[in-house]
């Protein structure tokens, strides 16, 4: 029982970091970035290549993040800007990028499933009496807390954060006041890409790196941000915890309906409180 709860919490940490980049682009740019899963997987593959040349996990995370950030920059600058302001078309552009990128990655890295090696320090379990927790899961938990805190501080405690929040509420007014809001938004999208990349490397160490992983990650990320409310970080935390618990108890007691149980609360939230549990929503 306790083990299942702890599994649920570590699962929640994983789901939270998977969703965090998507949430950022959704909250600020109002883009449902369907290429998020592909960006995640791209970061993971780059991290895998770096790891096999340098054997440095930290370097793999950084390079994976930077490469993905660059890709996000290209995506924003050359494609998304052309369709700015049209929600449906923005979504479709990211969808087509996701399709193209998925196939390009098979060309580059092949179709074999891989797994990114990680440092000895994080290998094996931590045993506390009856409770066994993998060290890597603990690392992911810590990683999620750090990322969550940093983002919260960036948005709520800095000047850039103020500009962003103002820009979300009234784009034209902030632009009229002389701020280069376009630049701010682009950098936020790039930051979201960076997050997707580093999470890809960490997630690729914990899970696997293989084609189709992109759609799976995207689905889970969408579940979290819809349930928690698009743009709400607190909401993401709560949603990740709910989903983590459903996942962990569901796969133990009702494996035949585990996915069903994960989708249904999200559908209910969309029906009765479309802005999510904690979201401000968008019109």
């Amino acid at each position: 029982m306790w083990m299942t709860v702890i599994d649920g919490i570590t699962m929640a940490a994983l789901l939270f970091i998977i969703a965090v980049g998507l949430n950022l682009s959704f909250a600020l740019l109002r883009v449902a970035n369907l290429a998020h899963g592909a960006l995640y997987l791209f970061g993971a593959y780059v991290g895998y290549s770096v790891m096999s040349y340098t054997e440095s996990w930290l370097l793999a995370i950084v390079v994976g993040g930077l490469a993905t950030a660059l890709l996000a920059l290209l995506l924003e600058f050359f494609l998304l800007r052309k369709v700015r302001g049209d929600n449906l078309r923005e979504t479709l552009v990211t969808l087509s990028v996701a399709i193209i990128l998925a196939d390009v990655m098979i060309v580059i890295w092949g179709g074999s499933p891989m797994s990114i090696p990680y440092p000895d320090l994080l290998q094996g379990p931590l045993i506390m009496g009856d409770v066994i927790v993998p060290k890597l899961s603990l690392f992911i938990l810590g990683f999620a807390i750090v990322i969550g805190t940093l983002l919260w501080m960036l948005l709520n405690k800095t000047k850039i954060g103020m500009i962003i929040r103002a820009g979300v509420d009234d784009y034209e007014m902030v632009a009229a006041l002389g701020t280069n809001i376009r630049l701010v938004f682009t950098s936020m999208f790039v930051l979201a890409g960076f997050l997707a990349g580093i999470v890809g490397v960490v997630g690729g160490s914990h899970l696997i790196v293989s084609p189709e992983e992109d759609w799976r990650i995207l689905t889970y990320a969408l579940l979290i941000i819809i349930l928690g409310g698009m743009g709400s970080f607190g909401g993401s935390v709560v949603a990740a915890l709910i989903m983590g618990m459903i996942y962990s108890f569901g796969s133990l007691y009702v494996p035949e309906f585990q996915l069903f149980l994960m989708f249904t609360p999200v559908a209910l939230v969309l029906i009765f409180k479309p802005k999510g549990l904690f979201g401000r929503g968008l019109e």
Partner: protein, 324 residues
């Protein structure tokens, strides 16, 4: 464009479609059948998108519902055609009636998300509830009913004619519907929901009916799908399939039913044709889709109706106006 030339074009197209099994190769006929049942999904998609401006990603789920109902009933030898097909339609109507009540509460991006999740729920059940749906093994061995297998001039092409006539009937009915007063009301909702409410229309009931009609069309596609392929597998209704319907709809033009059919024909043809040359055809389809979204957002029909004559035709067909 005058009446006579219009009728000449109609006649040529009709004669061609009727003669396909005899003048074209067997392969072309098979492909036509595929394009037709996928196009029914595109019609279901475009009906919602063009009439009330709602983009639904749950279309393949209804194909899956009717396909799975038939597959489960027939492989377990509980019911056979035509009763199994009737049961399938009943299931589709029931589920879409329930989903429709909920889906009506949302619009715009939330509607897209909700239909995405509803579709995924059906997919999840098909995939995981192995004791009923056989899970990722899929259900295999559903045979085409004899009623769809009659010979025409000695060739076994009955299936083609059954699906062709059903298709034409459905497209005609849907187009007629868009020009009826019901269609007008739906377009009114698309333009301004609050105004329609103010005018005293029961908007949510109208939207509900539209949703059920769209699902019914997708469900009929499912009947043909399962009888033609003989296999029902969860991958038929996964995220990829939703994306394919969406891509086809955008290719043809979001506001056009005929456009969606064209778009689906292009996507299906591309897949089959490119597949023979390269395994990386998804890159090509992806790039074409990207170009269309960025540079020709109104899709194929959008380009066609820039032409003056075509535009008047278009207005007449899809917007329900008399000659402009």
């Amino acid at each position: 464009m005058n009446q006579i030339s219009k009728w000449i074009i109609y006649t040529i197209v009709a004669l061609f479609l009727l003669a396909v099994p005899f003048i074209m190769s067997e392969f072309f006929t098979t492909m036509m059948v595929r394009v037709l049942y996928f196009s029914l999904m595109a019609v279901a998609f475009a009906f919602l998108a063009s009439q009330i401006g709602l983009v639904s990603l749950a279309i393949p789920a209804f194909l899956g519902l009717s396909g799975y109902t038939i597959a489960i009933l027939e492989t377990r030898e509980i019911m056979f055609f035509p009763y199994s097909a009737m049961a399938a339609i009943v299931v589709v109507l029931f589920v879409s009636a329930v989903f429709g009540i909920f889906a009506n509460r949302s619009k715009g991006i939330y509607f897209i998300m909700l239909t995405l999740i509803l579709g995924q729920i059906i997919w999840a059940v098909a995939r995981q509830w192995a004791s009923v749906t056989n899970g990722v093994n899929g259900l295999i061995g559903i045979s085409t009913p004899d009623a769809m297998q009659f010979n025409v001039f000695g060739a076994n092409v009955g299936f083609y004619y059954v699906i062709l006539f059903t298709f034409v009937l459905i497209v005609w009915a849907v187009l007629a519907l868009t020009r009826s007063s019901f269609g007008m009301k739906l377009k009114g909702i698309r333009e301004s929901e609050s105004r329609m409410i103010m005018l005293g229309y029961r908007v949510s009931r109208l939207k509900w009916v539209a949703f059920v009609i769209s699902s019914l069309v997708a469900g009929i596609a499912g009947v043909f799908f399962v009888y033609f392929v003989g296999v029902m597998h969860p991958s038929a209704i996964d995220l990829d399939s939703s994306a394919m319907v969406l891509i086809a709809g955008i290719f043809g033009g979001v506001y056009s039913i005929i456009g969606a059919v064209l778009g689906m024909s292009i996507v299906q043809t591309l897949e089959v044709v490119l597949n023979a040359y390269t395994q990386r055809y998804l890159i090509i389809i992806g790039i074409m889709f990207l170009l269309v979204v960025i540079y020709a957002p109104k899709g194929l029909m959008g380009l066609i109706y820039k032409n003056k004559y075509m535009k008047s035709l278009y207005d007449k067909w899809y917007k329900g106006r008399k000659d402009s």
